[in-house]
Symmetry: C2
Subunit: 148 residues, 2 copies
DNA sequence: TATTGTTATACTCTATAACTATA
DNA sequence: TATAGTTATAGAGTATAACAATA
């Protein structure tokens, strides 16, 4: 069926000079490759982000993890439910605050995180192959200044 | 209610060094400001993109516009319906191919495009204020090489 | 056979409002 | 009063499959 839009074509008129549009295109290309890299793991952006942050701060509260990732409280619930049902993350009562839930990785969660990390690192290498080390640093630096 | 996630905080552990994550953050920041800039116009990313491309290539076919923007045929329908119902865009029979529809801006469409362009240009100036002209060029160049 | 526009459908991410139980 | 987690719901973008009309 040769469907639309896998690779948008070049002529996008005035849009091409807008940083916002260039960001959309670049992010979209990364997302596509991200999904490909994680094929078969049933993992997605948001799930990976949560695993990565919990690994770096075991026992962090669910809301705090969401805050750092820019995910709203209401949207964290289903995501952590999913990770919890898959036994990648555990919710335990937080000490000192009976409202809060502290998050921990299970051994399976650690393993999944490592698998994803390896695949994502490989994907980034591939996407950034045309860039020199100085250019990569520049890119990360500019993006970080745009949105810390 | 001091809700979550308007401004994600800094400590995102290993994510912070991933280009994919930096792109997501930067794009997300741009999107938020984009929506703010276009408040009251009932315009969105995709609608603006279509207007901009049709303006630069009047009579282009609906599918071709979608192809250039990375929007699938199936998803173009509702978008062009919306623009058409709002009298910003007209669908006419394409000459030489009775399957295809050629798109044209109405005068209202032209005016709306100009309004959006002005607001978006202002927004980009604001977002890029901390960057030197050389840095802005570098950013656009790197992003374009990442996803032409 | 392939392509154009279309319908129907589903998934992901994001957003808001309101509830509960704690603080 | 405010916060943590939750539920319900909705909008927007993106994806696939299948159909009719046309090429």
């Amino acid at each position: 069926m040769r469907d639309n839009a896998e690779r948008p074509s070049d002529d996008v008129g005035i849009l091409g000079e807008l940083v916002g549009y260039r960001l959309k295109r670049a992010y979209s290309a990364f997302l596509t490759d991200f999904a490909r890299a994680l094929a078969g793991t049933q993992m997605r952006q948001a799930l990976f982000g949560i695993l990565a942050l919990v690994a770096g701060d075991p026992g962090a509260k669910q809301g705090e993890i969401g805050r750092r990732l820019g995910i709203k409280r209401a949207n964290m619930v289903a995501l952590v439910n999913e990770l919890s049902e898959r036994r990648l993350v555990e919710r335990r009562a937080a000490n000192g605050d009976r409202r809060a839930l502290a998050l921990y990785l299970t051994p399976e969660g650690e393993a999944m995180l490592e698998l994803c990390r390896a695949r994502i690192a490989k994907q980034e290498q591939k996407m950034l192959a045309p860039f020199s080390p100085a250019e990569r640093r520049m890119l990360v630096d500019l993006l970080t200044r745009l949105a810390p």
